[in-house]
């Protein structure tokens, strides 16, 4: 089974969130946008550890933007579930909760509303009561029975992995050890406890130790009196055979250290490992049928490489099964597990399955809205394309408020400098400049449209046989953008563009979609603009051959007469990125090329 949709109404950050999901959920979004509240919404439905008094929300939990709370106002959290027929246990639990018009979808709903008997507008928390029901009929209540079988576990952001590992009662190791000990012969344990007692006695038998033990006991007795005496003694551990399992500790570094000495990151990893083992155990022992494991900020204390490694494994091997499919011969069988993460880490976003991305963004009057890739209905090819392209640097864009897509490193280095020149800090606005390393903007445009992140595209004119390549490139993007924005007649939109008589008019029309094109390439444009001297100075930093040096000197002498090809060759030899980086330090106070200025303003205007 997987969660296919979530809807939240009138709850905390959410006036009306309604978004498709793709199984696992990787929730990204700025601070205070409601990521944890969304998790809490899921806990209202699925977490058996949440008490009914916590489930009983109150006035403070209604969406802030509500003008008044009447007897009809309700907090509603509902999730839809699909593919629940494969596991008959899951099917048995969920089958009654199908939608009236769609037997392949199950819906579970939590709702808080005024008591039905209330004859006035609700005035305090006691005026509300909650129901959990399935399908579309409130009479189909569900409760602990369901949560026991389909369970959400939360590892909260402020988890104390070290502390939990150290305390036996809270340790995720405890159920595993207890389970392992169930089958062990009691007599064998007795033998061990006798040996422990023996070893302890031997250790205590040294006079020095005995003296210490005696002085502790003596002083305690003197201080507490005989009535309160606890008879302190020294030893390695309690020797009761039935409690031996509690003495089992997780050791690290080949048994040299206890887990308390592990780094914070390792402790978190160990914690996660044990938790996953426990989930597997619960399912194998038929204690539950499906786990929803929610982890807040899984990146906490983890080195970036580990973040990628651990969560790639979690998504690929554990959730999907070793061979990607349902664990055919050879691979480990997929655990019925869905992972739900809230994260600020591009490293984790970069290894998450694309359809799991759920972006939350707050809108001033409408509360927080959700945008997901699952909503976008990508083809398999689209998805594979994007998953290939979304490396860490590019995954950064799902955390941005706005994105400027550019062709290469030159733009990536120069545009922030240009923006600064315009008095705009891109970081302050949360705008990322993202290079697609080429001109294949389409998958990114699709992704950004799906996630509702405003963006502009800056691309070169690239004339070939009197026709700018930018033209077809742009038309494809216009189609994507218009369709994603719900345009119902994209062909007409395209026709408006193709009917234009001049390239100037054509690109002016295209600009309305946030696609900005120059008249040649960035470098020649700059050279012809205000940057000739700075570019020559930058090129002078490079150690060219004598012949190139001569060309450069000639250019410096007469910048108005230049061979664009020759200039580009020199820049390429120096390295476009390096050139741009150096040039960026010299760009201050210069005229920003108009199409770049417009592209920056386009995005800034939308974020």
């Amino acid at each position: 089974m997987y969660l296919s949709r979530i809807r939240i109404e009138n709850f905390r950050n959410f006036r009306d969130l309604d978004v498709a999901l793709g199984g696992n959920i990787v929730i990204v979004g700025e601070n205070r946008v409601g990521k944890s509240n969304l998790l809490f919404g899921l806990r209202l439905i699925f977490d058996p550890a949440l008490s009914d008094s916590s489930r009983q929300l109150g006035l403070a939990d209604f969406w802030d933007g509500l003008e008044e709370i009447t007897a009809e106002t309700a907090i509603t959290v509902s999730v839809e579930i699909k593919d629940f027929e494969e596991d008959l246990d899951v099917l048995a639990v969920l089958t009654d909760y199908r939608l009236d018009d769609d037997p392949d979808t199950v819906r579970l709903t939590y709702q808080l509303r005024a008591q039905p008997s209330l004859d006035h507008a609700p005035a305090n928390d006691d005026d509300f009561s909650f129901v959990c029901f399935g399908g579309e009929d409130e009479a189909k209540r569900f409760g602990h029975d369901l949560r026991r079988r389909i369970t959400l576990d939360l590892l909260p952001a402020l988890r104390d992995a070290e502390g939990d590992l150290a305390a036996w009662r809270r340790s995720p190791l405890r159920p595993l050890v207890e389970d392992a000990f169930v089958g062990i012969d009691k007599e064998a344990l007795k033998g061990i406890s006798e040996k422990i007692a023996e070893a302890t006695a031997a250790a205590i038998d040294f006079d020095e130790v005995k003296a210490l033990e005696a002085s502790i006991a003596e002083l305690f007795l003197a201080m507490a009196g005989s009535k309160q005496d606890v008879h302190p003694s020294l030893g390695f551990s309690a020797t009761d055979a039935t409690r031996i399992n509690r003495q089992i500790r997780l050791l690290i570094d080949e048994g040299r250290r206890g887990v308390a000495d592990a780094s914070l990151g390792s402790a978190n990893l160990i914690f996660l490992t044990l938790k996953l083992l426990d989930l597997q155990r619960l399912i194998a022992a038929n204690k539950r049928d499906q786990s929803l494991l929610a982890i807040e900020e899984p990146e906490a204390h983890l080195h970036p490489h580990l973040q990628r490694l651990v969560y790639k494994h979690l998504f690929e091997a554990i959730v999907d099964g070793e061979d990607g499919a349902n664990g055919d011969v050879g691979g480990a069988a997929a655990v019925p597990l869905s992972v739900i993460l809230t994260t600020h880490s591009p490293h984790i976003a970069s290894v998450a399955p694309l359809e799991s991305l759920l972006l939350l963004r707050s809108h001033s009057n409408e509360g927080t809205k959700g945008y997901s890739v699952a909503e976008a209905d990508f083809t398999k090819a689209d998805t594979e394309d994007l998953e290939r392209y979304l490396d860490v640097t590019r995954a950064d864009m799902v955390f941005a408020r706005g994105v400027i897509l550019v062709e290469g490193d030159a733009e990536r280095f120069l545009i922030p400098a240009f923006a600064e020149d315009m008095g705009i800090s891109l970081d302050e606005h949360g705008v990322s400049v993202c290079s697609v390393a080429g001109t294949n903007f389409q998958p990114y445009a699709k992704l950004l449209c799906a996630l509702g992140i405003p963006f502009s595209v800056i691309t070169d004119y690239d004339e070939v046989d009197e026709t700018p390549r930018a033209y077809n490139r742009a038309l494809k993007l216009v189609r994507i953008i218009d369709e994603a924005s719900g345009g119902d007649d994209t062909d007409a939109v395209i026709k408006t563009i193709t009917k234009k008589k001049t390239w100037g008019e054509t690109f002016a029309e295209i600009q309305k979609f946030g696609i900005f094109v120059n008249w040649s390439t960035l470098e020649t444009e700059l050279f012809e603009g205000d940057y000739a001297q700075e570019m020559i100075n930058t090129l002078h930093e490079h150690n060219f051959s004598a012949k190139r040096k001569a060309t450069l000197n000639a250019l410096a002498a007469n910048p108005t007469d230049f061979d664009a090809d020759e200039l580009l060759k020199m820049i390429e030899q120096m390295g476009k990125g390096r050139f741009a980086q150096r040039l960026a330090t010299r760009a201050t106070g210069k005229l920003v090329p108009k199409y770049i200025e417009e592209a920056i303003n386009h995005v800034i205007g939308l974020v």
């Binding site: 027929e85 246990d89 099917l91 048995a92 639990v93 089958t95």
Partner: protein, 598 residues
């Protein structure tokens, strides 16, 4: 964990009882589809419950369960009690109920909309009055004329049950007028937001046939289907069993006896069970030992049946006696003979017998009136289970009130019945009104208070019932549509025992006694005696014209014979056959001839 293991030991211990009976043990060990052909007194209910307990513990894991379909609510209750004794609480993973409640609660209520049945939103089940009104309206539209529309009820029902699949051309061609009537009647019901009793299994069969996912879902919830009294459950259930068990993958454990099929008028036929038992993919076991009847009665019962089944009594069984009582005079006179002569003779012969162990069984309810009158004249208490009873034995509400009465008459001291059980059964009864924990608590509080204040066996039943009616029942029954008919039953009963009623002096203890069945002669129709047993059985009115009826068809004859057989085999020690001396039933004559010819 510990409670689960103790449950374990309960049924494992009980299973030891089955070991000595080879067939029972085989049934207990079965792992695939199994049909248990179980003659009278063969221990089928015991085998069924222990097997159910085993399958729940060993074959079916949480959250999946077992559905057990039985003939009527009383059978369901009996099974629940026996399972509880084996440590399996009612509810949870086990469904136990009739075909109708299975259809309604497991298929129609959860899935009517998504299965595309086109039923009205939040439909309810028609009470008698509503069904009658729909029938009258449809009759006026389709048939017309001055006759009583009720006369059509049986034909209508038979026609509906006959066509499980209305896509067949015969539905239109066989009897177009009747088909039009059925369709008009159902349209009237739907327009009023209703379904009727017959609709339940018919619609469930349709929902299952049309929706593959629904069959899968049922297999997921109930990987095992147990059916008791298969021979009397009719074609709709048979169709469900065929679809669920022999195509969707549910495992079947069916129990029944072709010789005890007596509900032909509801569409049941022994053929269905016989065909099922002859399938290659079914392990069929016949329980051959009759632990109930004396050995003479067992062998005589085969003469009754006219078939060799090879049934035997265990070696150490008592003998049992068959008595013939040719009588003179009308039924009133015969009834007096039964009360004045027969009963005292029996009590003399069996001085320790409790009157509750004596049953007079008869083919038609009016004969019960004669017996009830004669019994009343001589101061005997009776329990009647036929159409003329003070209230029908099948009324869940009345049965529950009997339990309440038993609690008030000393049950609170002895723990029988337990208050928790009385409360939980009440909550189930009023489930439409008790939808959450708060309401359940309020119900428990109200009921406990009401019963505690009235725990006095000498109190007048009318006062007691009126109080319970006002404090507990009235407010909740108004929210519980499924109890409409039962509420009418209760009010009729209240009127009859009230100041203006025809029944005087009914103390609470007597009402409680009905629940416990102690020391009263049982008066029952043969049909209602199904599944029960008594030390002494008197077949009253075993005459031509009554059993079989006049002008019986071949099929009627066969069913009448089975009915006679069912009555005959209710007896442990004595079976008495009563009839007008010149008009014995042909079945009586046959038995007599065969016994004399031994």
């Amino acid at each position: 964990m510990s409670s689960a293991s103790s449950d374990h030991s309960l049924y494992l211990r009980a299973a030891e009882d089955l070991r000595s009976n080879e067939r029972q043990w085989q049934a207990y060990q079965s792992t695939g589809h199994c049909v248990l052909l179980a003659g009278p007194g063969s221990g089928k209910t015991k085998t069924l419950t222990i097997k159910l307990a085993r399958m729940l513990n060993e074959d079916v894991d949480e959250p999946r369960g077992i559905a057990c379909i039985t003939y009527n609510n009383e059978c369901a209750r009996e099974l629940e009690n026996r399972l509880e004794a084996l440590g399996i609480a009612p509810g949870g993973r086990v469904f136990i109920g009739t075909v109708h409640s299975f259809s309604l609660t497991q298929i129609l209520l959860p899935y009517a909309k998504v299965a595309g049945l086109g039923l009205p939103d939040s439909f309810t089940v028609a009470n008698r009055q509503q069904a009658r009104a729909a029938l009258a309206a449809a009759h006026a539209n389709v048939i017309g004329g001055p006759e009583n529309p009720q006369n059509w009820e049986m034909r209508l029902g038979r026609h509906r049950r006959r066509f499980l699949n209305r896509e067949l051309p015969e539905w239109q061609t066989l009897d177009p007028q009747l088909t039009a009537f059925v369709e008009a009647y159902e349209a009237e019901l739907r327009a009023a937001g209703l379904i009727d009793f017959d609709d339940m299994p018919l619609l469930a069969v349709r929902a299952l046939a049309e929706n593959r996912w629904l069959r899968t879902a049922m297999v997921a919830k109930y990987p095992i289907l147990a059916v008791d009294e298969y021979q009397d459950l009719g074609r709709a259930l048979h169709r469900m069993v065929m679809g669920l068990c022999f195509s969707a993958g549910m495992r079947l454990f069916a129990v029944g006896d072709v010789d005890q099929s007596i509900y032909g008028f509801t569409g049941a036929t022994p053929e269905l069970l016989r065909r099922l038992s002859e399938r290659d993919d079914v392990e069929t076991l016949r329980l051959g030992l009759n632990y109930r009847c004396g050995s003479r009665i067992v062998s005589a019962s085969e003469y009754v049946l006219g078939e060799e089944r090879g049934y035997e009594a265990p070696h150490d069984a008592h003998e049992g006696t068959v008595y013939f009582h040719p009588c003179t005079g009308g039924y009133a006179e015969q009834a007096r003979y039964l009360i004045e002569e027969l009963i005292p003779e029996i009590r003399e012969r069996r001085p320790d017998i409790n009157l509750g162990e004596i049953a007079a069984l008869y083919p038609a309810a009016f004969l019960g009136n004669e017996l009830a009158n004669a019994a009343a004249e001589h101061g005997y208490s009776v329990i009647r289970t036929d159409g003329n009873a003070l209230y029908p034995r099948g009324s869940k509400l009345m049965r529950w009130l009997e339990q309440c009465a038993m609690w008030c008459c000393g049950g609170w001291r002895s723990g029988a019945p337990r208050l928790s059980r009385v409360v939980s059964e009440g909550a189930r009864l009023f489930h439409e009104a008790i939808t959450d924990e708060d309401e359940r608590l309020a119900f428990q509080r109200d009921l406990t208070a009401a019963l505690w204040d009235r725990r006095d066996e000498t109190v007048d039943l009318h006062d007691w019932l009126t109080a319970l009616h006002d404090d507990i029942i009235r407010s909740r029954v108004s929210l519980t549509r499924s109890l409409d008919d039962e509420y009418v039953t209760l009010n009729n009963f209240l009127t009859r025992i009230g100041p203006a009623g025809d029944v005087d002096d009914f103390p609470l203890a007597e009402f409680a006694g009905i629940g416990s069945g102690l020391d009263r002669i049982n008066l029952s129709t043969l049909h209602s005696a199904k599944g029960r047993e008594f030390d002494v059985v008197i077949l009253f009115g075993a005459e031509e014209g009554r059993l079989p009826r006049n002008y019986a068809t071949e099929n009627d004859l066969r069913e009448a014979r089975r009915l006679f057989y069912v009555g005959f085999t209710r007896a442990r020690h004595e079976i008495h056959l009563m009839y007008g001396q010149h008009n014995p039933s042909r079945f009586v004559t046959e038995v007599q001839d065969r016994l004399e010819g031994e």
